[in-house]
Amino acid sequence: MTRLTHYLTHPWLTIRVQLALGIFFVVAALPKIVDPPSFAHMVYNYRIVPGQFVNLMGLTMPWIELLCGLALILGIWKEAARTIIAAMLVVFIVAISINLARGHAIDCGCFDPNPRPKSRAERVEDMQLVVVRDIGMLLMAGQLWWASRRSAQCAARSAQ
């Protein structure tokens, strides 16, 4: 075990990462839960989700975010919550990247389903930042996974 691994999987860091990620998701979920039609519009703007599923996704995704965020904050079922969050982040990154690649500038709707009007250039810049931010959060989820795996290994070793 290198020193770096030790620090990166240290419980002190893990608990903070877990709380931060949980808070991020709860904060992101609340405005969308309050106004589902606006968020459904955001989902529609991505032009990736088939029409029949736009509303269903607009309704359920914020609740998944909220429950997973709460699970991380409270430390209940945190592994499952972390996995779902990681999967969602991958979906977000792919969705934004597809639209960046095809030059379709949209508002991400990540934290605010009623954004102010922006220019195309501003939107593209924001989308790039969102991809970077989401990769950062994915790394946080990765840290949680790594730390839990290591602690499981340690537990198994000490049980022998």
């Binding site: 839960i33 309050v34 106004d35 589902p36 039609p37 606006s38 459904a40 519009h41 529609y44 032009r47 990736i48 989700v49 088939p50 029409g51 029949q52 599923f53 736009v54 509303n55 269903l56 607009g58 309704l59 359920t60 914020p62 609740w63 998944i64 909220l66 429950l67 997973c68 699970a71 079922w77 592994e79 499952a80 919550a81 996995t83 779902i84 095809r102 030059g103 379709h104 500038a105 009007p117 220019s119 195309r120 250039a121």
Partner: protein, 251 residues
């Protein structure tokens, strides 16, 4: 065994979230409710990027109204198949107010009010049914003429935006709220007489990239309204040019 537990927990979390979503939608107020199954035929169609045209730049495209042949050329790429028709009518309707509409952006409302207002019947005659296409886009000139002639205006924006201000006489028809289909059906029942069905209806939202009005027009067309217009610059343009507005939840 660990993996199974993990998946079970994840599935439970998702199921709980879906349950919360359905329950909260069930008890949500009319303005915050969504129909569970969406009906958005263009959900996978990526719109052609508008050349980041702010509102003012849409004026010149209306200005060339001399030859119909040239009108097709500057057709904005935003509107899919109706683009050419849209500009043609926009040009022809813009002809009623004084033809020098180019600097109109600088001058507010007076432009249209001073124009010799044609009799309502004449105006309505100019806006004939077009059963082959869902909608025809119009600019301020056309919208103002139709407004003067007493055409029905439908506001496709969210009800909260409607309450903050809307075109006088317009009704709230937010396409993103759950009761939209019900409202459209009601309107159809209200206008069951074929003569009334032929009357023009104008849908608008907030201009720019907003396509809620187009979505509403598609819905109206789907239920056999064949004389629908989309005021493409929408409420901000109307307000800027001093058209009559109202606030509150009633038309």
């Amino acid at each position: 065994m660990d993996l199974r537990k993990h998946l079970l927990e994840a599935a439970t979390l998702i199921a709980a979230a879906v349950l919360c979503a359905v329950v909260s939608n069930g008890i949500a107020s009319r303005e915050r409710k969504l129909a569970l199954v969406g009906a958005y035929p263009n959900a996978l169609k990526v719109p052609a990027e508008a050349a980041t045209a702010p509102l003012e730049t849409t004026l010149p495209s209306v200005a060339p109204m001399t030859a119909t042949a040239t009108v097709a050329l500057p057709a904005p790429s935003t509107a899919p198949m109706t683009a050419t028709v849209a500009t043609t009518t926009a040009a022809s309707t813009a002809a009623t107010p004084p033809p020098k509409s180019a600097p109109a952006a600088a001058r507010p409302a007076i432009t249209t009010t001073t124009a010799p207002a044609p009799a309502a019947a004449d105006t309505l005659k100019r806006f004939q049914q077009h059963p082959d296409k869902a909608y025809v886009e119009i600019a301020y000139g056309g919208a103002a003429a139709l407004h003067n002639a007493g055409a029905l205006f439908l506001d496709a924006r969210r009800t909260s935006a409607y309450e903050q201000g809307h075109i006088a006489g317009a009704r709230p028809y937010s396409v993103w709220e759950a009761d939209i289909d019900e409202k459209v059906k009601k309107l159809f029942a209200e206008r069951s007489d074929p003569e009334q069905q032929a009357l023009p209806i104008v849908a608008y939202c907030s201009g720019g990239e907003c396509e809620d009005s187009h979505m509403l027009a598609q819905k109206l067309w789907g239920i056999q309204f064949n004389n629908v217009y989309v005021y493409k610059d929408g409420y901000p343009d109307w307000q800027k040019r001093g058209g009559a507005v109202r606030t509150g939840s009633t038309p």
